[in-house]
Symmetry: C2
Subunit: 149 residues, 2 copies
Amino acid sequence: MDSLLQRIDQEIVAIGGKRSRSRAQVIEVFFRTGTHVTVEELTHAVRKRNRSVGSATVYRTVKLLARLDYAKELDFGDGLKRYESNLEAHHDHLVCQECGAVFEFKEPRIETLQEQVAKQHGFFPTMHRLDIYGYCRKCAPGDKRNRDK
Amino acid sequence: MDSLLQRIDQEIVAIGGKRSRSRAQVIEVFFRTGTHVTVEELTHAVRKRNRSVGSATVYRTVKLLARLDYAKELDFGDGLKRYESNLEAHHDHLVCQECGAVFEFKEPRIETLQEQVAKQHGFFPTMHRLDIYGYCRKCAPGDKRNRDK
DNA sequence: AGTGAATTTGAAATTCATTATCATCATAGG
DNA sequence: CCTATGATGATAATGAATTTCAAATTCACT
């Protein structure tokens, strides 16, 4: 964990940046925090440690992590962006439309098919996003009345 | 096409709405327009016929179509929502990060795997979104220098 | 055709996440 | 210790999307 922070610090220096206390705190909390965080959530978590950190810094830091490929930007269509660590292997998401819970899954066969499809279209993929929306076990509707809310 | 508009009109009446000239124009242009339109594009297209249509009406109409399941809301992560007709069979998207072109594809085997995955997690899927980002044939980079822009 | 209740409209105002601005502060190299 | 420059945090600005509201339109009922 510390070595991760060091590594990131080095990369920041390498692109002409300086170290800073606030940013280091944001980064550490980000990697410790559960995944799929919104900036607001992350800001709140960081402020528990250091009340003075402004949300602009959190926005900047999380964008920086995404630029350095340590974080991935997610968007589940509810109007706010979420971020997750990009250290773990690639995975996709199951998003519950009722309670907002997000589950992760891996399915290498889907990845394979995606590459095939891209190739068929003369397309050079750099990344993809697969989100499955629906109802998790807890929120599963016995009937369909929930649907239209 | 006319029967489609009639059918939609009937549904609107069924949920307590009234017919209106502007909305009918928006709906017609929407179904005639190429797919993946932004609200801005659609507004512009509608105004060619009827200068007086306001963008609020376009926003409202396209939301209404989505509610009635005639349109699908898309989001390719560039900050604006896009809409496409929901009449055609389901398909997914290849999005070029360079020129913004969007290509559609169908891959039933991916759909099947998605349902398997959902079932494995006790998840009840209602829809999904698969977007593959990368470079289309035209924008394909010979080297990797394009990547970071 | 006329009336009235209800919906829709377009313009403008508002909302809200995100980004930019800017004066001040912190960092790091000399 | 000095200085140049990047980073910060408060605040203002941006921009897509939504809401407000008075005026216009629709439509069921005469």
